[in-house]
Structures are given as C-alpha cells and as structure tokens.
Symmetry: C2
Subunit: 324 residues, 2 copies
C-alpha cells in the first residue's frame, strides 16, 4: 500500500463543515476563521511506550491523540476548527489503522471537527503528532496568567483517575481487591479516553480569570498558573474531587492519597474565578482552594496541616521512570 492509498483508505472521510474550504489532497488545507475571532493552535506529540503503553488498544490511541489536543483548545475557551494528523508508523497493519481511525473519528464526529490534513510516514517508532486549530473572540481567551488574589481555584470532573488507570495497566497486581471490575474499567477509560471539556471551557471563557488543562499533574499545572500570574495559592487536599473508584483505591491503600495531586493525564480544566462568579457555573466543578498573595503553593490536610509536597508531575526529560 502506498502512502496515498493509505490516506485514501483510512483518513479521507468527508467533511460536512462548511468552514473547511479544502481538506486533503492539496499542499495545504484551507479553512475559514469566523470573522472577528482569533486563531488558536496547539501541537502535541505522543510517542508509543512513552505517552501511552505500547499495548494500548488502537481505538484508544486514536481517541486520546485527538482528545488531549482538543483539551488544549478547551483550556483556552476556544471552539475547534479542524485538526491535522502526523502519523509515523513502523509498518502498515490494516486492522490497527482501521481501529485507530475509528477512535480518532469517533471523537472528531462528537465535536464536529474535521481531519483537514496531515502526513503519514514510515518510522521505527509509532508516534503521533496532532495539531488542533480553533477560534475564539480575542476578548474571551482563557490564559494561564490572569489569576487574581482571592480567586477561587476549581477543577472540573474528578482528578487522579488517569493516574490510577495507568497504575492499573502497568502494575495490575497492585490493584486493591476492593475495586469492582466496573471501577477498574472506569479508570482505564479515564486514562485512554479523556474527555476534552470544550463546552465547559467556552463557558468559563466568559468570566474565569485563568485556566489550563491538567496534563502534567494538578500541583505542577497549578504552579504554571501561579507562575504566569505572579501569585500563590492554598489548596485543601480533602476538597480535591475524586471518583468513587479513586476513593475505593485510596481507602484500600491510604498512601496513594497524594497520587491525584501529582498524576497527569486527567485533562480536566483547572481554573480560577471570582467567588461572585461561582454561581454562573452550570457544570460539575469543585472548589479546591484560593489564590493568595503569599507566593508558593501550600496543600493542607483535613486538620489544616501543611502536607509535604509529593514529587511533582511527569516531565519528559527528567531523570524519572517514564511510563512503559
């Protein structure tokens, strides 16, 4: 199969979006950005055995590659315009490609975003490079740098699930026996099929001060907001929202209680808002702390004591064990 045949077979679904003037088959894709809106762009690279276990189901690889990129648009309050995919493959396995494309397109269709272009090349290592394009009113773009002293700090959904899901995949023997099978499935799904919080981000863009998506770990990502905004923060460990599955795990293994602070890959939105704007939030979100003038980040336990910081999130070049 040639590169052209591969693209024709797996990556040429019709695009019903009339903002996409030309997709595929030429040197560039051509899109229309809504009048008055700015263009947003983000690129993420995922490498097999590094960003996802090599035995991850191809459906999930395709799903997640798009999800983590859409999440970057969500974090700034943008609407998706289109996506390009750079696919580096060791070889052509029709079944793998079919499932990969199915996963990718299932999430794309759910958010009405078209695959508008890309590149497919041979490489010894499977890797994916996804670039998402989006748009937003320039006055409604959620940056990391807008947090203000006194702001509530909140997060959508629950955190830590992807971290427990990764542990469940990498070290299945360490899964506490208290976890029901559906809870393990839930944690796997949270790892492999994260939900880009696009609607939430677009709503937050109307009034929130700062936001990002939790990809490196709650504490590390909050630190990015604090650094960009020149403020500090205090958060309360017991307020960090956990799923029933994560709660079951922590009850069975109390020393895992800090994992939700440092594990990445949840792709929930972490944001700051004025307290008086909190009632405007019409989706699941939980206040976990406050922005302070005092620099640094303090985590308090149920008794109000400062919790020593765990090792922070995942850094690709740090001397720590990567996921395998």
């Amino acid at each position: 199969m040639t590169e052209f045949e591969l693209i024709a077979r797996y990556f040429s679904r019709p695009c019903p979006d009339d903002a996409v003037l030309l997709a595929g088959g030429d040197d560039c894709a051509v899109l229309r950005v809504p009048t008055g809106e700015a263009l947003l762009v983000s690129t993420d690279v995922l490498v097999s055995d590094r960003h996802f276990p090599a035995n991850t189901a191809p459906f999930d690889v395709g799903y997640k590659a798009l999800a983590v990129n859409l999440s970057d648009l969500a974090a700034m309050g943008a609407k998706p315009l289109g996506v390009t995919l750079g696919l580096a493959l060791p070889d052509i396995q029709p079944e793998w490609l079919n499932e990969f494309a199915r996963g990718f397109y299932s999430l794309a269709a759910a958010h009405r975003v078209c695959l508008v272009g890309g590149d497919t090349v041979k490489s010894p290592v499977l890797s994916l490079s996804v670039t998402v394009l989006g748009s937003a009113l320039p006055t409604q773009i959620l940056k990391r740098s807008g947090a203000v002293v006194g702001d509530l700090i909140a997060v959508t959904g629950t955190v830590g699930d992807a971290g427990f899901g990764l542990r469940a995949v990498l070290s299945p023997k360490t899964i506490p026996t208290a976890l029901a099978r559906h809870e393990i499935t839930y944690l796997h799904d949270r790892l492999n099929r994260p939900t880009p919080r696009l609607a939430e981000g677009q709503k937050l863009a109307q009034f929130a001060h700062a936001a990002l998506d939790v990809s490196d770990g709650l504490l590390q990502d909050l630190t990015h907001i604090l650094t960009a905004s020149g403020v500090g923060a205090e958060i309360s460990l017991i307020d960090v929202p956990l799923s029933p599955a994560a709660q079951t795990w922590i009850t069975a293994e109390p020393r895992a209680a800090l994992l939700p602070l440092s594990a990445g890959d949840d792709y929930e939105l972490l944001f700051t808002v004025r307290a008086e704007d909190w009632p405007r939030i019409d989706f699941k979100a939980t206040v976990i702390g406050r922005i302070s003038a005092e620099p640094g980040l303090r985590v308090r336990d149920a008794q109000g004591h400062i919790v020593p910081m765990p090792a922070q999130g995942f850094d690709h070049f740090a001397a720590q064990t990567p996921p395998r």
Copy 2:
C-alpha cells in the same frame, strides 16, 4: 534539563510579529488571521534516517524542516502566519539543539515567521513534525485542480539538484570526477537547504491555474496536477531546467539524465498558466511542456521520441530502498 528548560533555552526567541497575539507558555498560541483571508495549514513529518540522512548537520535539519513546510504555503500562494514544531528527541545534546535551533530560526527570520508553539518529547528516534499556518485571499489560492488544456507547464529554478545531492551524500564514490568542489557543495546545499518559493507562489496566485511544490519528483508531482485537474500533459526532457552542477553530472554520467524527472526534494514550484500570462512572470521559471486533453503524461526527448517513464518518485511505504 527538563522539557520546560529545554524550550526556554532553545525555542523561546521573541516574536516581533504583531499578528501573533500569544506564542508559547500557554495551552495554545493565538494568532490574528488578516480580515477577509482564509487560513491555510499544512503538516509535514520528517524522520531521521528516512527523510534526511542521520548524519545531516543539525543546522540543516532545522532549516529543512521549516523549508519544506513553508514550501507547502508557497505552493498555494499563501503568506506565512506562524509555525509549530513537534520535536521528538532521543536525548538532549546541547550542541545539536543549538545548531538545530539556529538553522530553524535563520530561515524563520528570513521569512518573518515566528515559532508560536509546539511540543518536545523523548523518543527512541529523532523526528520532527512541523505545522505551518498561512493566509491568503480565498479567491487567490493556488490549487492542484485548476490546470486547463493548452496551459503552459513550468517550473521555478532548477530540478534534480536535491536528487544529485542525495546521491553525493549516500554514495560519494559515485560523484563524477568532473564535478568541481563548489558544484558538490551546491548540490548538498540544494538537498539540505531548499528554498521555499514564497514570493513566487504569491505572485503566481494572481493568475496561475494550478501549482504544487516538487517534493516527490517532477513526474509524480505533475501527475498529481493532471489527476486533480482531469487533463493530460506532454513535457520535453531537454527543456527541464538543470543547474550547471547537474549538467556536469549528466554529461559525465549520461544514464543519470532521467534522475531530475523522478528525484524529489527540490521544492521548486511546478505550475500551469495560460500562454498569454507568461509575460507576467518576473522570476526565474522555465516552460517544460503543455497541458493536453489526451490523458496521461508523455515525456519527449530532443528528437521528439517518447521517453519510457523511469520509476516514479519516492513513496514512504513502497517497497523500495529508503534513503539511509
């Protein structure tokens, strides 16, 4: 060095472009697309030892990664708006990164295009994924599909140089002794530092019917225009523009005469125009043939005989020897 330190050290040069509202440091970059213009986007992936020899100078790797992408904008007549870089690295070699960044930024500065975002990850194999963003008036976008019977077929610059340059790198012993040292250097440079024909593309967008950039090989790329436009073509081998270095090589090794038809990587613009528009061209370009109603592509030699087609361009998944 962490990923953040790496980006800060090598990939955080200031952006003087006021169309770039936000570059780096947040979840997305934010750009302004000129009012009334469409957005153009293209992604290319380059893998070490596949798209460039593994011993290619890092300056050239950086230069070429950007050049081949800017060339896609040139081929559609667009102006560059910004670029994102996905960099997958086996390890951190400061000298390599420094030179890579120097090559990348030297071409970026020449075309006033800013690196607005990207991702840096660890991978067993060096690979680069570049996404360029550009803009153009929707009525002045050069597609592959507009060729009309009777059009002149022309190409900018000279073709075959990159192909000879690759042979010079891969099999230095086969370089004819007739080639002067500066000619060999010239061929290497054409391989490693292709020139994106941005000004030429923007000019052509005003009147040309169809265009693309020669990346897979002259014949294969011309076939893309013919297929997209539903026409045929006849080209004249002796009219194909060659550099003095390529001419010297072919004189010394006559059986290499067809290499300029099938070698890729020249990144010259191949285009079709009405004969009456030819005088509007104010840059180096050479007519090599005509669009015909008869389907297919015929190449004629100096005596007017049909030349049997050589094996066509480079396909990443075809069963042929990749560059090493």
